[in-house]
């Protein structure tokens, strides 16, 4: 009889897990930065009153939001072949896919944040003689960022969870490190419980931070199960 209680495999393979976790963190940081750059551009375009900026941005964001993250990661990986002539490395394919896919969700957060500032304030700003940059920098952004803060943290939690999708194209990040260890040790219960626990600790502490930021009226909530 073989026990499922094999916790000894965790300390034995700890350096391997640590390597995977470091890669997960690298993907997370790179994708986080890129995702918010994407989000600010497309969120601002969707918030604009000009139809020639608004509609193309809306189409891009809605199409990306309508496709599964896993599909998107694989798709970007294979897209690179016809587009640039050679396959992107799995690592960069995963980073780009996460930037674009999560960026589309993040763009909705940015748009909601910009929408949370009443248009009258913008008009008032223009009528006192401020230009676009001044109105955005001094009137809209300070208020929008404060309302967005909890949603930004929630999005970051979602991005952290979604880094595990990189597993499917062969990036040896934390989850794939776990599946490799499991393949060798046949300790799926212990290994996957350990992985779940680590992800839980990271995401839970992040989302606590978000809850602390979100204890006032008027903030934007982002509870999308992606």
């Amino acid at each position: 009889m073989e026990s499922f209680w094999k916790w000894h495999v965790i300390p034995e393979n700890l350096p391997f897990f640590a390597g995977g976790f470091r890669l997960t963190l690298t993907i997370f940081v790179l994708a986080w930065v890129g995702c918010w750059v994407f989000a600010v551009i497309f969120g601002a375009m969707r918030h604009s009153s000009r139809p020639w900026l608004r509609y193309p941005a809306a189409a891009v964001v809605e199409i990306i939001r309508g496709t599964p993250g896993l599909m998107f990661v694989v798709w970007v990986y294979f897209l690179s072949q016809p587009l640039i002539g050679y396959a992107l490395s799995p690592f960069w394919a995963a980073v780009w896919a996460l930037i674009i896919h999560q960026g589309a969700y993040a763009a909705e957060v940015v748009r909601a944040g910009l929408n949370s500032v009443p248009r009258g304030q913008v008009a008032a700003g223009y009528s006192t003689g401020l230009g676009y940059v001044e109105v955005m920098g001094w009137i809209v952004l300070p208020q929008a960022l404060r309302n967005m803060a909890p949603a930004v943290v929630n999005r970051s939690v979602a991005l952290f969870k979604n880094t595990s999708l990189a597993f499917v194209i062969g990036v040896i990040e934390f989850f794939r490190a776990g599946t490799i260890v499991n393949g060798r040790e046949n300790a799926s219960f212990s290994v996957f419980t350990f992985i779940a626990a680590v992800y839980f600790v990271c995401c839970f502490s992040l989302s606590r931070l978000g809850n602390r930021l979100g204890q006032r009226p008027g903030v934007i909530e982002d509870t999308t199960a992606v």
Partner: protein, 287 residues
């Protein structure tokens, strides 16, 4: 400057509602931005570094393997339907549990939501498939000499329902919270019991309020079901990969799969709008 302010007034906007551009400068900006992007793409495909390579487009493969894609759509819909039922039930009970005064029910619901929302669905699915199987082996199969195998469909629907149920619980909770306190007090003062208040006053209102955010969670079930491919569910994602394995036409196969997923999501959006219209509600975006 004054001109710009005037053009922003509501009357000015109403007068020019059907005009794409408010000023000639905007038309120039439009042509510069989108024309520039289009020119860049055209240049890239004909003269860029890619032009030296010759990618062999084989879109006919998608039509040849249409059966695979249809089977995949069938499995995806099957998983979607069961997960939808279970996660709705879980979500409603969890939402009620989070708003009751009974402390242990509330603690249980909070624990459930926090645990399942903060672990990637991929990990949950693998835990439910591989991890659970090992427990079943050690606890039931080996002592009793049985050979019970957890079906991957069961593991997938279990994980997907628990994951989405946690998110739906949050949505239902915020719906229940939005019912004013006065309604509770009014129901109590007319002599309704606690259960009757839930059944006749709170839930009928709360469940209507939550339809738009709930709709977006429903769409997420379709999208998240792609992850089931990793535990060998033969869904749309799985068959896209199978086409790629058989023909090496990866880009074509995955593009077809992506578009079919998009189609499913759009059909679901349509169905949700239909439900809202049938219920006589104001149709709102269900992104």
């Amino acid at each position: 400057m004054a001109d710009a302010v005037l053009s922003r007034t509501a009357a000015a906007r109403a007068a020019r509602r059907w005009q794409w551009f408010e000023t000639p400068r905007e038309r120039r900006a439009f042509l510069l931005v989108w024309g520039g992007l289009a020119a860049l793409v055209v240049w890239y495909f004909f003269f860029g570094p890619r032009a030296q390579y010759d990618y062999n487009w084989r879109w006919s493969i998608v039509w040849q393997y249409r059966r695979f894609l249809l089977w995949g759509v069938g499995t995806t819909l099957y998983i979607f339907a069961w997960s939808l039922v279970f996660s709705l039930v879980l979500g409603i009970f969890c939402g009620i549990g989070r708003t009751t005064n009974v402390r242990w029910v509330r603690a249980l619901s909070v624990g459930y939501v926090e645990i399942f929302r903060n672990i990637p669905l991929l990990v949950q699915m693998w835990w439910a498939y591989f991890g659970l199987q090992q427990v079943v082996n050690a606890v039931i199969n080996d002592p009793l000499g049985l050979r019970i195998l957890i079906p991957s469909t069961f593991a997938c629907i279990l994980a997907l329902s628990l994951y989405t149920g946690a998110y739906m619980g949050e949505v239902v909770r915020s719906g229940i919270r939005s019912i004013p306190r006065g309604q509770w007090e009014a129901a109590t003062s007319t002599g309704l019991s606690r259960a009757q208040t839930w059944r006749h006053v709170v839930l009928p209102q709360a469940l209507v309020i939550v339809i738009p955010p709930m709709a977006s969670e429903v769409l997420n079930i379709i999208k998240n079901s792609a992850i089931a491919m990793t535990i060998a569910i033969t869904d749309l994602m799985f068959y896209s990969q199978k086409i790629e394995e058989e023909t090496f036409a990866g880009f074509e196969a995955y593009t077809a799969g992506t578009l079919l997923f998009l189609l499913l999501t759009l059909l679901a959006v349509g169905a949700i709008y239909l439900v809202q219209w049938l219920l006589g509600l104001k149709v709102r975006s269900a992104g």
